[in-house]
Symmetry: C2
Subunit: 581 residues, 2 copies
């Protein structure tokens, strides 16, 4: 795989850095519009939230064995509340052995939540504030071209929920984190990440799941999937590996991933006891937590809300316990006739995570795996427990998000969000879909975006992608692209629906490019410019993305075109309109 | 293309006929479940609404030059209110010349609405009643297996809107048609169709657009797209051809299409005047209407609601007039400074259509083509006019549906449905998406399913599919498949969300198959069994759809599997569970 080409093949989309924190943004250069009166309107570049980190920097080494630069290294050092407690073991299968391991100094809690509660604005908070603003709002502050068809491209729709203020300030970020309404997953042992914020008052984020199994994939394939996820816009990445080389695979991923990385530590613990759920112990699990926290995992999915009392209910379900983590713990509880040890050791877990600023993603082990099981007593019972666990984690200053369903029919989705906001005290919700039907196998990325937009509109902070392979097999590289782009689209639709102050800017610029036949701009503003270009060229061999003056396409042909007619109509009403080249 | 193979490659999905009307249904045969106690549960076949007509009959001739059998021929004859008025002209490019043309006898209106208003239940009404019931409800009347995990697989969710009754009766169908709330598009010159009903109290339908342009495609390619649309489940088909052989292409399609066929007659009228919108006349247009009505087109999109007064508003839009028909009429009105001749001749048009039972699909020529233009004065102004036109058409006993948007952000979709129900007196709504963002180029089938489920939940009767090529080029055969399956999924999600009494049955059977590792059943119950099988096999080479006993997949591998653990949990709670083979 030519990584340089993967990230740098489009000369009109470039990474630019802003401010003293060097916040990376993707800048899309637009073509000018030539008008009938002979003048020319320059179209300002559009800045898009960028997830690629140094991979989009033409001066980067592009060598996965060397890893990413340590953007946060100095920030962590300067806080002087952590210390080096050892070095990572060396391994023949990864070149990152010997890296220093950091941990909180005794009595310290180096978490973003602890700082936020104390009123401290960290560099991470400053970074995300610039990042959330710059990507979208920058243009709005600039003077609009006098030739633009409206005074401002930004329109606030009636009925959209208003935000507190137009601009995301570092203080707003701090306040949201202190309240538990948003998190910046950022392990002190993962200084390579570009901080991202997850919360319902920020841009909706998406998560990509990758990971091998005992039956498929290798370290190289997983690294490739990770890079593809980043390229197409993934905001966070979960490594769900259960197969060979589990520790080395994770190390390669963490050292090369510019976004937060999450895991389900239970998967590795299960491998350590030979795949026998009933052989799991707290001690085995605890050691895995520490190993992964030392590596730099930014958030852990922990299925502590699956309690004994819910199992009889779950056993009567159509699809039982679809969550892997949930079913592992259920099996353990039934064998030992004891309460979930993750629940019993919750405070111990919080204590460990507070030493590294690992965030919780409290698992929904009883999420419905079938439409028939949606919103049942098992699911909502667990959600209430998730809420209690949230509040206990906050007592340790550990950042928390809650995981949500699952298979839920469209009309029952809203209830999930309402209950979560209520029971989990507004901790960010992070859902898998929901999938609005059970019969979409092969197309479940679509089934899941439909439900995802509904729940995102109502306040979900992050959507976990689903790929077309869901229910059928492990996703491969191309499935990652399908899933990530579909969910970028869904997340954007959520931002529009929530009335995010600036999210419509990109749609408006796109629509104007469409109305003015600026094909290159249409392609570069699309979520997947490569596919847009490929499709545009398919039955129109003369087309290239540089050929901006071609005023027709295969849909109508050269004779009559509704977009060209619309230009004539505008002209009839006295507007200065684009001209053919 | 091997048409026989296209329709008959799956031995477990068969067309079966019910009742004296020989209503075709797709029957999916399931594998039995072997239980731990040694017994075996037979899983009853699932019947699915079938759109394939004789193409799914193994005894059919499979020759597109011979066309489909005339299912409705006798029904039309027996009503004795129509007469043969001529024969279709012969053509070197199609073998169907010389076919007899029917028209109403003087003073007669042979429309389903006219019959319904008189209290007559037609064979078409009886057919759709059986079809809507059989596909889904049949199983519910049968005794559920005593081993099934619930008393009934059908669950009525709280908050679902209740329907009048459980069963669709012919009288209910008649009443809905008489009220204008549903239509059976069924031209007396298209006796080949299997009648389908479009209305919000019935299963949500989907429409497929095909058609050539002057730049792409041939008759053969369009026939192939038509057959693909039918195979994947399209309920109606629009031929939007604007290129060469426009009449012959339509003739081939109508004679071979088992679903209703719609057109935009304005496209052919424009070709007749050399593509010059201002040269259009009522006389040219009228002749096209009659030609197409005589061929057997079942519904016409007519952009009569685009009035002069809306043009100044539309000229200030971001994307102007995105509808091709709307922009043609706008250009004509501006050139002649006269009102839309389709509006002025509305009664003449109604009169013509009442002679053949062609249904209206009143076009939304001012549908928004950009998020920024959604729900504006031009769009809603036209919708009110559409409502007036509806009522005038009903005076002629002509069946009507209304077309709807377009590009609309998610939170503004509901208002469209509310206004349409109010202003158009509950005439069926038929929408294009809506697309919830402008930046999805290459993935706009997804952008459109998201909005489609929202508006379908609120009452839209039919969703027009959108393909991944939308905004980029004409769809090809594979795009038709992507679009149709995505929209079948969306329509099903709408039915679930509306609480359609039996739509959850298929999800439940699928989920039970999933929980019991009946892989062949999972594949055959999916909306696209071929893709499900292909994906399942991709990284699991040993898998075949006959290999139902393979109790793991590449997702978890053989060691621990949540679905297998769920079976163990059910067993712990005393249930008789499936066993490994």
């Amino acid at each position: 795989m030519d990584i340089r080409k993967l990230f740098l093949d489009n000369p009109w989309r470039k990474r630019v850095l802003f401010g003293d924190k060097k916040v990376g943004v993707c800048q899309v250069e637009l073509t000018p519009t030539r008008l009938k009166d002979g003048s020319c309107r320059q179209n300002k570049p559009v800045r898009i939230y960028d997830n690629c980190g140094a991979w989009a920097d033409p001066n980067f080494h592009f060598d996965t064995s060397k890893g990413l630069p340590n953007l946060r290294g100095d920030w962590i050092d300067e806080r002087a509340d952590t210390e080096v407690v050892g070095t990572l073991p060396t391994s023949a299968k990864n070149p990152f052995g010997g890296r220093k391991i950091r941990k909180a100094k005794s009595g310290c809690r180096p978490t973003q939540m602890a700082y936020a509660k104390k009123g401290i604005i960290t560099p991470e908070m400053e970074y995300v504030a610039v990042r959330e603003n710059l990507a979208l709002i920058n243009e709005l502050e600039s003077e609009m071209s006098p030739n633009a068809p409206r005074d401002s491209l930004f329109i606030q729709h009636e009925g959209s929920p208003k935000r507190k203020g137009f601009e995301i300030t570092p203080e707003f970020v701090r306040d949201e984190i202190a309240r538990g309404r948003a998190i910046i997953p950022a392990n002190i042992n993962h200084p390579e990440i570009e901080p991202a914020i997850i919360g319902r008052n920020f841009l909706t984020k998406i998560n990509t799941n990758i990971g091998n199994s005992s039956m498929a994939s290798s370290i190289d394939e997983e690294i490739e999937k990770m890079l593809w996820a980043i390229k197409w816009g993934s905001d966070t990445l979960m490594d769900l590996s259960t197969g060979a080389d589990i520790t080395d695979t994770r190390e390669w991923i963490i050292r090369n991933c510019p976004t937060p990385v999450g895991t389900v530590p239970l998967y590795q613990a299960l491998e350590k006891v030979g795949g026998i759920a009933e052989d799991l112990t707290w001690e085995v699990y605890r050691d895995v937590l520490i190993e992964q926290a030392e590596q730099g995992v930014d958030y852990f999915t922990i299925h502590a809300g699956v309690l004994q009392k819910f199992l009889p209910i779950a056993s009567r379900r159509m699809a039982g316990i679809a969550s892997r983590g949930g079913s592992i713990m259920a099996k353990w509880m039934l064998t030992h006739n004891r309460e979930n040890f993750l629940f019993e050791h919750w405070d111990d877990i919080c204590d460990i995570m507070s030493h590294y600023d690992v965030s919780f993603s409290i698992g929904d082990g009883l999420r419905p795996g079938a439409i028939a099981d949606a919103n049942d007593e098992a699911q909502f019972g667990e959600l209430k427990v998730q809420g209690e666990l949230c509040k206990r984690a906050w007592n340790f200053d550990v950042q928390v998000m809650c995981e949500g369903p699952g298979h839920v029919p469209f009309q029952m989705i809203e209830q999930n969000m309402e209950n979560q906001l209520d029971w989990c005290a507004e901790a960010p919700f992070y859902t898998l879909g929901p999938l609005v039907s059970d019969i979409g196998a092969g197309y479940d990325h679509i089934t899941a975006t439909i439900g995802g937009v509904m729940i995102g509109w109502k306040g979900t902070a992050m959507l976990c992608y689903v790929t077309p392979k869901e229910h059928l097999g492990l996703p491969e590289r191309d499935d990652v692209r399908e899933g990530v782009v579909a969910f970028k689209l869904a997340a954007h639709a959520c931002d529009l629906a929530k009335g995010h102050p600036a999210s419509q800017y990109r749609d408006n610029v796109m629509s104007l490019a469409r109305a003015e036949f600026r094909w290159r701009d249409q392609i570069n503003l699309a979520l997947d410019p490569e596919r847009a270009e490929e499709f545009r060229m398919r039955n129109d061999k003369e087309f290239t993305r540089d050929n901006a003056g071609m005023h027709h396409c295969t849909m109508c042909g050269p004779k009559f075109c509704s977009m060209r007619a619309s230009i004539e109509i505008k002209e009839r009403f006295g507007q200065n309109t684009p001209t053919e080249e």
